[in-house]
Point group: C2
Chain length 478, copies 2
Amino acid sequence: MAREKNVEQITNMDEDFGQWFTDVVTKAGLIDYSGVKGFFIMRPYAYALWENIQSALDTRFKELGHENVSMPLLIPESLLQKEKDHVEGFAPEVAWVTHGGAEELAERLCIRPTSETLFCDHWNHIVKSWRDLPLLYNQWCSVLRWEKSTRPFLRGREFHWQEGHTLHETAEEAQRETQQMLDVYEELCVDYLAMPVVKGRKTDKEKFAGAEATYTLECMMHDKKALQSGTSHYFGDGFAKAFDIKFSDRENKLRHPHQTSWGLSTRIIGGIIMTHGDNNGLCLPPRIAPVQVVVIPIASQKAGVMEKSEEIAARLKDAGIRVKIDASDQSPGWKFAEHEMKGVPLRIEIGPKDIEQEQCMAARRDNGEKAAVPLAELEAYAARLLGDIQTSLYDKAKANLTANTHPAATLGEAKEILESHGGFIKTMWCGSEECEARMKEEAGVTSRCIPYEQERVGNVCTICGKPSDTMVVWGVAY
Amino acid sequence: MAREKNVEQITNMDEDFGQWFTDVVTKAGLIDYSGVKGFFIMRPYAYALWENIQSALDTRFKELGHENVSMPLLIPESLLQKEKDHVEGFAPEVAWVTHGGAEELAERLCIRPTSETLFCDHWNHIVKSWRDLPLLYNQWCSVLRWEKSTRPFLRGREFHWQEGHTLHETAEEAQRETQQMLDVYEELCVDYLAMPVVKGRKTDKEKFAGAEATYTLECMMHDKKALQSGTSHYFGDGFAKAFDIKFSDRENKLRHPHQTSWGLSTRIIGGIIMTHGDNNGLCLPPRIAPVQVVVIPIASQKAGVMEKSEEIAARLKDAGIRVKIDASDQSPGWKFAEHEMKGVPLRIEIGPKDIEQEQCMAARRDNGEKAAVPLAELEAYAARLLGDIQTSLYDKAKANLTANTHPAATLGEAKEILESHGGFIKTMWCGSEECEARMKEEAGVTSRCIPYEQERVGNVCTICGKPSDTMVVWGVAY
C-alpha cells in the first residue's frame, strides 16, 4: 500500500539531518511550539514517553533509598552567588523575576537553572548529626536556561529533568553514590532505550560548574555526533563549605559533609529519536514505547473484523503489552504511515482473509519485516518480536558506534578521520586544557570523556607529544 | 511511657489553631521555609503524601481517557490578556520575568498562575476537525500567585497542582466532563482522604475568572472553617472565541468547541492536616499515609527482637501494607511520640515478652487504643485495623461537619449562630451579589457554594426577604 500524507512531508535524514529531526518531532505529534522561543509544548505522545522514562528511573531511585522532594522554583540572587564557580557557570543564562504583581522586588529572583543552592540552603537548616545522614533526595521538575539557539528536546530554554542531590558523612560514600547513579543511567540507556554508551569522566574543562568531578554517558547519534545522556557529579565538600553545612560526626566533631548531584533530562528523548529514527519517522524501543503494538483492522466494515481486532487487543493487553486499536475512519495505508511515523514497534493487521485462516499479519517497525502469525500463538509471538526489536535496535546502534569510533595516533590522523568519516576519535591526552583547546580549534571536536574502558593509542599526547597514559574520546557534541 | 521532645513543643490546637498548624507542618517534617516568602520546601514525607494523592488521581484520570502533557512555564503578557475576565482575575498576582541572562526582554513574561491561555493557544494550532475532539488533557506542575499573606500548603506563592483542560464538540459533553471530574475529586476526598464534602456550584461572585460556572467541594476543618478542596469549571465557548479555536463539525460547518478546566492542589494536604490532626500531631488516613504501620522494637538489644521486628515488617509488606521499622537508637518513648507526630496510622510494638507470648502490641493513632495481637493473625488484624481507622476518621470528620452546620432563617439568627458556634450556616438566597456582600459585611461569612443537596430553610432570601428557592452554604474560608 502506498505511503500517504505525513510521510511525504518529512525531509530525508541523509540530506538534512537537522530538518529531518524537526519534521519528526512535529509530524509524530511529540512537540508544538509555544509563543516564546525555546519553550516547547510536550504533547501527550512525548509526555507518555517521558512518563515511561520517569517510571523506570523513579523505581530504581526508590529501590536505592532515594526520596522525592520539591524545592522552590525561584532562587534569590544572593543565594545563587554563594558558590563562586557555580554562579559563574549559571548566572549568564538565567531568567530573572523582578516584579511580583505590581510590586518591584527588593532582590531579584532567578528561575532555577539547577537546584544545588536550594538543596544546600535547606540542608544548612536541617542537618545536625551523623544520624541525619545520608540524605538521598531527588526532584522531578523543569528548569530554565536562557540559551541563544534552541531546538526541541535538545536545547530548550525550559526543559524537564530529574535532579538527584545527596549528602554523605564521607567522601568515599559520596563517590560511591556518584558512580552508582551513573550506573543507573547506564541501565536506563542500555536496557530500556537501546542506546549504547561511552561511560567516563569529563575533563576539568567540561565538568559541571562547582563539581570536583563529573561523570557522563556519551551516546552516538545516527549522524555520528555525540549526545551527553546523563551526568553524575561529585562535589566533595565545596558546596557544604560555601553554605556552611556541618554535622557532628560519630566522634562528636563538627565536619562538613560530602555531596553529589546527578541529572537526566528530556534531552534523552532527542537521543532516542536521533539514535533509532529513520526516513519513515520515529522508531521507539519497545520497553519505552507508549504504544508497543497497534492493531489495524482491514476492511473493518466487514463482519467480524472489529470484534476480532478488539479480541486481539484485549489478549495482548492481558499479556501486559501496551496496545491500541486504530479504529478511525482513515484508510489502512494512511494508518500504516501514521503509526510508522510514531515509531510504534509492532503493527498487527487483521482482515477477513486473516480471520478465515486464523492468523493475523505482524509488521516490525524497525526492519519492515512482515509475517503471518497464527492467532493461537499471538501473545508469545508478539512478546518475542518485541524482545527481538529491542535487541536489534541496540545492536544496530552499537554497530554505528563501533564503526564510527576510530583511534588516532597523531593530530593529522585525527583531522583526516574526522574530515572523511566524522564520528568519535580516541587519542592519548596529556591532561592540559591547551591541548583540548587546540583539538577543538584544529579538528573541530571537544573532549567527550575519559572513558572507563581505557586503551592505548600510543603513549604520548596526540596533540603535544608529551608522555600520556590517558585516552580521551572526542567528538562533535549536540 | 512519657511523651518526649517533639510533642512538648507543639501548641495546643484549641488555644491557637494557626500556631498548632505551623508547629505540625514543621515538627512532622513536612515543610521547611525557603529564603523567599511563600515558597515552601516539600520535604520527603510531604512529597510522599502528594505522590500518593497524585497516583490515586492520575490513575482515575487515565481510566477516563485523559492524557498528560506539559505546557511552558512562561506566558507572554499579550497572551495572558486575550480573555478579558481571566486577565483581570490573574494579572494583579503574577510574577514577571523581565530579563533572560543579561538581555532585557522585548515583552515581559509571567510565570503561569494557571494555564488556560497556554492550552488555548496550543489548541488554536492543532484543532481542525471534530475528529480531533474531545481533547482530554491534564498537567502536573507548579504555578505561582503572588499572594500577600502566605502559609504552608494553604496559601503559597508557589503551589503544586494538577490542572485538567478539556475541549469538546458540544456544550453538553463539556458540562458532563465538568461534573465527572468533580465526582473524581469527591472520590479522592471521601474514599482516600476521609474528608466529607459539601458539593455544589459557586455563586457568580466566587467563580473562576473566565468561567461560565465553577463547581466545588467544600470541606470543614477542625476549627469549623471551610477549605475549598477541588474545583471544576465549565467555560462554554468563551475562551475558544477569545483564542479563535474552531473546528469543522460533522456537518462540515465551522464552530467553536466547548471547554472545561479542573484542578486540585497541595492545599488538600493542609486540609488533611486540619481535618484529622490533634494535639499529638498529624493523623493520616491509612489509604494515603506514606507509612501505614511503623514497627518499633522494644529492648532491641535483646536476642531475637530485631529479627522478629524484621519478620513482622516483611510479612506486612508482603500483605501490601506500607511498613517501616524504626531501628534508630532513640528510646521507645521518643519513637512513639515521633511517629504519633507524623500521624502513622498504626504502631506495632514487639519486645521479648511479646515474643514469648507469640504476640505483638498494636496501637491506633486515631484513638490511642492498644491491643495485643496474636502473631498468627498479624496480617488480617493489621488490615482490619487500618480499614477501621480509615472509616472512623471519616465518621469523626462527618460528625464535625454535621454538628457545625446550622440552618438560619433570618440574618439575625445567622449572626447569632456564627458568633456563638461558628461553622457553616445554610440560608435561602435570592441570587444577588448585594445580599452576598451584606452577609459578608454583617455576618463575616462568604458563600461557599449552592449545594447539590438542597433543602428549604424558609422560602425567602434570608438577607433581603425576596422570594427564593435556592439554598446557599456560608462559612469563613481559608
